[in-house]
Each structure stands twice: as C-alpha cells, then as structure tokens.
Symmetry: C2
Subunit: 377 residues, 2 copies
C-alpha cells in the first residue's frame, strides 16, 4: 500500500500479529510527520520517553522530540523526556538497563507512557527491553537509523541485552506499536555500515522472494548510490518478508523463523574467528551466504547458477564474497556451539532455488569443511 | 479434582490460559513426589536451576534438588544446579537479577533449561523474572513456601523486581509451567506470617465465593491451628478463585483482575503511613478490607451484615480489624498516588454482598475519610 502523506510518499507494511499487529511506515524526507504518525497510530499519548543513540541525537532524536512536544494541544499536552546512550554494543548491558529504568521512573513513567527508540539495532534492542520490562510492558516505537535496523532488528519484536560473553542472552519478545523509517536518516551513516545492511536485504531475496532478488539485480547500482526510490523499495520488500515470517512464528517456536538465519551459522563463526571487529555483521553474512549456497550446490540441493547469481549480486553491492583466511579448524568448533546445533549435528538453512530455503539437519562435517575451504578464493 | 498419588492426597487446580495453561498441585507431606511431578508435567527436563530463599534451602530446596538429580535415568540424566538468595524484599533488585542471570549462564543454562523457585513471594517474583528474561523466556516451576505465596503470588504470572522507591516496577507476565504446594513446608513459618496469608484467603471468599466464605467461618479454628485438611481446602479454593480471574484477564487489560485488589488501596496506604514493617502485608489487607466494607455499607452498596460477618471472620483468624492510629490526612495522599486512581478520582473495589464486588469510580473523598476514621476502633 502506498499512501501520500503531507505531500510525501509513505509506503506502509503491516506486521500481522492479531491484537499486536503494527505498521512499518517507510518514507524519504518525511520525518517531520513522525510526531503526527505516532499520535494517530497510538491514540492516547501524553508522556513520551525518547532513548537515542548519541550519534543520532542531533538532529534526529531532538527534532522528533520537539515535534512531539509541539504536537500536544492545550487540553492534552504531551510531556517529552529524552536521554542518550553511548554508541556501540557495550551499551546492551544490565548496567545500562538499570540506568534507563531508573531514568524512566524518575521522569514519571507509568503504564501509559510510550518509549521511542532512535538509533540502530543496539538502541532498538535495549530500549525495546526497557519497554517490555517497565511496569511489565509499555508501548514503544522504533525509529531505526541504520539500514540493518530498518530491514531487520526493528521488525519482529526481539528485544534484549547481552551478558558478559553471551550476546542477546537476556530479553523479551515485545512488539513495537509502530516502526517509522525515513531513509534520509541514513545520510550520516558511513558507506561501509550502509553496505553491510544490504547483505540482509539480499538475504530476503534468496530465502523468500525471487522477484525481489531479480529487482535487486537490476537496482544494485542505484542501491549502492542510495537512490531514495530504490532504497525505499528494498526496505519495504525486506520488511514484508520479515513481517510474514514473524507473523507465522512470533516466538520462534515453530521453526519457521529459523529461515532468517540463512548464512548466519557461518557468519557467526566468521565473526568469532576473524576477531570481532574485522568484519561488520553484514560482511560476514555475505560470506556466510556464499558458504551456505556453496554447501547447497555441493549437496546437490540446488543448481550452481544460484551461487553464481548470488555471487554477482553481492559483488555488485560492494560486499565480500570470499575470505582468504577462512579456517575450517577454527570455524567448526564455533559452529558446533551455535544454538542451531541439535545433539551435536550441524543444521543449516540451505537454498533450493532463489526464493526458497530448507532446514537441513545432520549435514556431513566434511561437506561443511569443503564449502568453507572453497570460499577462500 | 482429587487424585491419589503415591498414597497421598493431591488435589489439583487448573489455571486456564490456552497454550499456557498449567496446574497447581496441593498436598500435605507429598514433596517427595515433586521431582516426579515436574518430570511428568514438563516432559523434556535435562537441566534444572533451583533458586531458593536461604531460609528454606535446608531442607526443602536441597531435597527437591536431590530428588530431581536422582530421578534422571542413564539415558537421560538430569543436571541440577542450586543457588540461594538472601531472605527479604531487598533481594528483588536489579543487582540480584544480574547475579542470577550470570549464574544461570555460568551453569550452562539454555532455552531448554528449567528454573525452580523455592520460597515466598520474593523468590517467586525474582526467579520468575529470571525465567521470563533468560534466553527471552524459559520454563519455570513455583514451589511456594509461605501461605501468601501459595494462595496469591505463585499463581497468575506476575513476575518482577523493585526499583528504588518503586515496588514491582519492573517485570514481565510469565506463567509458570507448574505450581507445587506441600502444606508441610509451612511448618517452619512463623504464626504471624502464616496468619497474614489468611487475609488473602478471606479476600477470595468476599470477592468471589460466598460458599467458601461460609466454609471459612466454620473452619477458622482449624485454619488457625493449621490443620492440614482445612488448609489444603482453603488453598485449593483460593487458587481456584485466583485462577479463574487470571484466566479472564491474564495481562490486566480488561479490568477484571482488579477485583483482586479488594482492600488493597487502603492496605497500601496503611503500610506506607504506618511505616513499612509495622504491619505485615496481610494484616494491612485485613484492616483495608474492613475499611472497604465500611465504605460500601456507608455508600448503601451492601448490607451492614456483610461487614459484621467479615469482622468476625477476620477476628477468628487472629488478624486486626481496626487501626487506632489510622490518619486519613496521611492516607489520602498515598491513595491518590496509587495506580488505581484515574484522573484524580478515587476508585475502589467494593462488595455488594459476600461473594461479589464491583469497581466503583469517583468515590466521594469525604466518604473515604469517614470510613477510615470509623475503623480507628
Ligand atoms: N532484534 C533483532 O531482531 C535484531 C536483529 C539483528 C541484529 N540485532 C542487533 O542489532 C545490533 C546491530 O545493529 P546495528 O548494525 O544497527 O548497530 P548499531 O546500533 O551499533 O549502529 C552501528 C553504528 O552506527 C551508528 N549510527 C546509527 N545510526 C547512524 C546514523 N544514522 N548516522 C551515523 N551513525 C549512525 C551507531 O552509533 C553505531 O556506532 C546488534 O546488537 C544485534 O544484536 C537485533
Ligand atoms: N506475583 C504476584 O502476583 C504477587 C502477589 C502478591 C505478593 N507478591 C510479592 O510477594 C512478596 C511477599 O511474599 P511473602 O509474603 O511470601 O514474602 P517473602 O518471600 O519475603 O517471605 C516472608 C519471609 O518468610 C521466610 N520464609 C519463607 N518461607 C518460609 C518457610 N517455609 N519457613 C520459614 N520461613 C520462611 C522468608 O525468608 C521471608 O523472610 C512481595 O515481594 C510481593 O510484592 C507478588
Ligand atoms: Zn544478521
Ligand atoms: Zn495482597
């Protein structure tokens, strides 16, 4: 659905979750309208708590806060409080949770308050968990500011923090009431971080949407150049794919949600063995999808042309397709510890054709090693 | 339903919550069978994490842990880890949550682990929140060891911790998989704490169950003397009442669950103005129910005989029915801050007859003051 709003084009994707359904609104240059969107989607809004990544506090979080405060009427004023969180993964901690919960309380938060998260996946996960836990759950709105957050972390209701040595170990399933995406917000994001987000976009094409994959092949140059129309379309189709998977398996119980892990068992092992920091997450996912596709071809599950097309698209998006230092001896033990391992057997999400994947249990270790080694060049 | 189990009488109450339904098993001297009950109700159990109040670690938590470990078979062993928590409300803190989450991780907790809470409401609320949050939610079993926890806090899925100055401000709705009650566990509980729990039992009679109220009138002496049969019956009927209310309003959204707050708006003001510690919670609830019934009589909502019967039953249970130091000037401001106040109007759960209550909004402040003053003697 595409609806004109205040002269801008805003497309909207519905996340179908019964009483917890919500919409993702995607636009370019329409963030002036965010305050109005929040009021119209949430109804009774009198106290808003904005939690922002320090890197995007100015101008984005500040302008959304000001617009919200200004949108109150005399009869129903809106009180807005705002705090910033240090950029980076270490903020997803119990210490930061403690600080934010006390901040919400001190600002007079109650069951009717609304939390607005402005930032990348770190802020969305952290602020979402605050929303899930304060007063046993209050409403929250996601304003994602990285491409990864727009197409992945802000959709689906997974919130949480890390324990020392254990990422995302603590959290809740808690759905936002609204997700507001303005592609203009990405203007300050580094090209490397932006491209990294494109890896997840490509993922949706491979696992769920052959037509979208073909569109990405056509639009790769426009996407790398961040052309707004191509970008809005890519975000919208990605969110549609994620929303439909989440709608079928909200709490990760049926197994359906596992298809979102395409490339990720390899990617986690790449991130861990390369040393955290060498690859951005999306870069590791790009290489991980290559290993998974290679494995699928080797197992006779799909045609080699799938790997060729995926390789070309990843390259067109300026992302890595190989890793010269890949070491199966180092990667395998990490993969065996991964949550996707059941009773010591390696399980993978593998493509059968563009747009379709299957969960394969009990994959031969030698085949996995071979796929890793083949992707060294 | 009453089913014989291992020669003991175990009655069981079902909490009807669709896919999250669970049973509360009530017995005397049957805690030897807890391990078997857990395995049969939960199915796949290979790693159990027991979190116990230090006051009941010996013998109760230790014996449940030993029985669980011993009940594993060679093909499917059960690993049991156990930790204790300091007695008392201050343990419901983020610091203790942090410690316990790291303990669960360090003991190898994963999505299939099971948490068992052995203690009163403090341990149940805290361990329940750990279960709700670890890996975004794992199974847990309540083994309540105070009467209040048996009839109230262990049923209904409210879990959580306190913030400085704000009780139960952080938490989750997270239902247990099973509640195991053995009245023998109460043998070490002080008489004062035990009697305090009876106030909540009386509450269920007034708000929901006239027949039960009459039984309590008959059985008051037996209950004060902790006769097992009378006690099991009282716990069972109390849990039935709470279960049916929770079944209708799991997440406190329809308003139905508010009836459980009968007497509590007054009680919270009594606890706050008497200085925390002067009254146990149930003692304040007893006086609070008297004030609420008095208010209902004064407003012409119910017959004065209701107050008379309630007074006699509370007295027969050796609980206070009046408070000489009650000060409406101190209590009213606390009541106005209470969550049950909407837009500055006082709201109360008031009885219309034994077994039935109504939510009354917009109660005249003068009538509230008068009810408080009349209960000074
Ligand atoms: N909840 C989920 O379903 C889900 C899914 C995937 C990832 N995640 C989580 O998301 C996190 C990663 O998300 P991320 O990649 O967005 O990381 P991030 O939030 O750390 O953002 C990356 C960096 O970009 C900066 N930044 C954000 N927006 C910016 C902008 N508009 N301009 C300039 N700089 C900007 C941040 O300050 C940060 O330094 C991880 O913690 C991961 O666990 C969650
Ligand atoms: N979740 C809910 O729905 C709900 C409902 C009501 C109350 N609560 C919470 O419950 C808590 C109060 O519960 P409580 O009254 O059980 O308090 P508690 O857990 O603090 O127990 C009271 C005292 O009794 C001791 N104790 C417990 N079992 C014993 C035993 N068998 N023998 C000897 N000593 C024993 C404890 O060490 C403690 O000192 C509060 O934190 C309250 O917020 C929760
Ligand atoms: Zn990813
Ligand atoms: Zn109570």
């Amino acid at each position: 659905m595409v609806t004109p709003s205040q002269g801008f084009e805003v497309s909207s994707v519905n996340v179908p979750l019964g009483g917890r359904s919500y919409s993702i609104q995607i636009s370019s240059g329409a963030s002036d309208g965010f305050a109005a969107s929040i009021r119209s989607a949430l109804g009774d809004v009198s106290h808003v708590l904005v939690i922002a990544d320090e890197a995007v506090d100015q101008p984005w979080a500040e302008s959304v806060s000001a617009a919200l405060a200004a949108s109150g009427e005399e009869a129903s004023p809106i009180r807005v409080s705002r705090t910033t969180v240090a950029s980076g993964e270490p903020s997803k901690s119990i210490a930061e949770m403690d600080r934010l919960l006390q901040w919400v309380l001190q600002k007079g938060g109650d069951r009717r308050s609304v939390i607005v998260a402005v930032g990348g996946g770190v802020i969305g996960d952290l602020a979402g968990f605050i929303a899930a836990s304060f007063a046993r759950g209050i409403r929250f709105v996601q304003v994602p500011t990285t491409l990864l957050a727009m197409v992945d972390s802000s959709v689906g209701g997974k919130t949480g923090i890390n324990l020392p040595g254990a990422k995302n170990m603590v959290g809740a399933f808690w759905q936002p009431s609204l997700v507001l995406i303005d592609t203009d917000v990405l203007s300050t994001l580094s090209q490397r971080s932006y491209l990294s987000g494109l890896a997840e976009v490509i993922k949706y094409g491979v696992i769920d949407d052959a037509e979208f994959f073909a569109e990405l092949e056509d639009q790769a140059t426009a996407l790398v150049a961040r052309k707004p129309a191509a970008l809005r379309h890519a975000i919208s189709r990605s969110c549609q794919s994620k929303a439909s998977v989440v709608g079928e398996d909200e709490r990760e119980t049926s197994g359906r949600r596992a298809i979102l892990n395409y490339g990720h068992t390899f990617a986690h092992a790449i991130e861990a063995t390369a040393g955290y920091g060498k690859f951005l997450h999306g870069e590791a996912v790009a290489i991980g999808m290559q290993m998974a596709a290679r494995l699928a071809v080797d197992l006779g599950m799909c045609d080699p042309s799938l790997l060729d097309r995926q390789t070309r698209l990843i390259q067109a998006c300026c992302l890595p397709t190989t890793w010269a230092d890949a070491d199966p001896d180092a990667m395998l033990p990490v993969m065996m510890r991964d949550k996707k391992v059941a009773h010591g057997k390696l399980r993978f999400i593998l493509p059968t054709k563009i747009g379709a994947v299957e969960m394969v249990g009990d994959v031969d270790e030698a085949a996995v090693r071979a796929a890793i080694v083949k992707l060294k060049s």
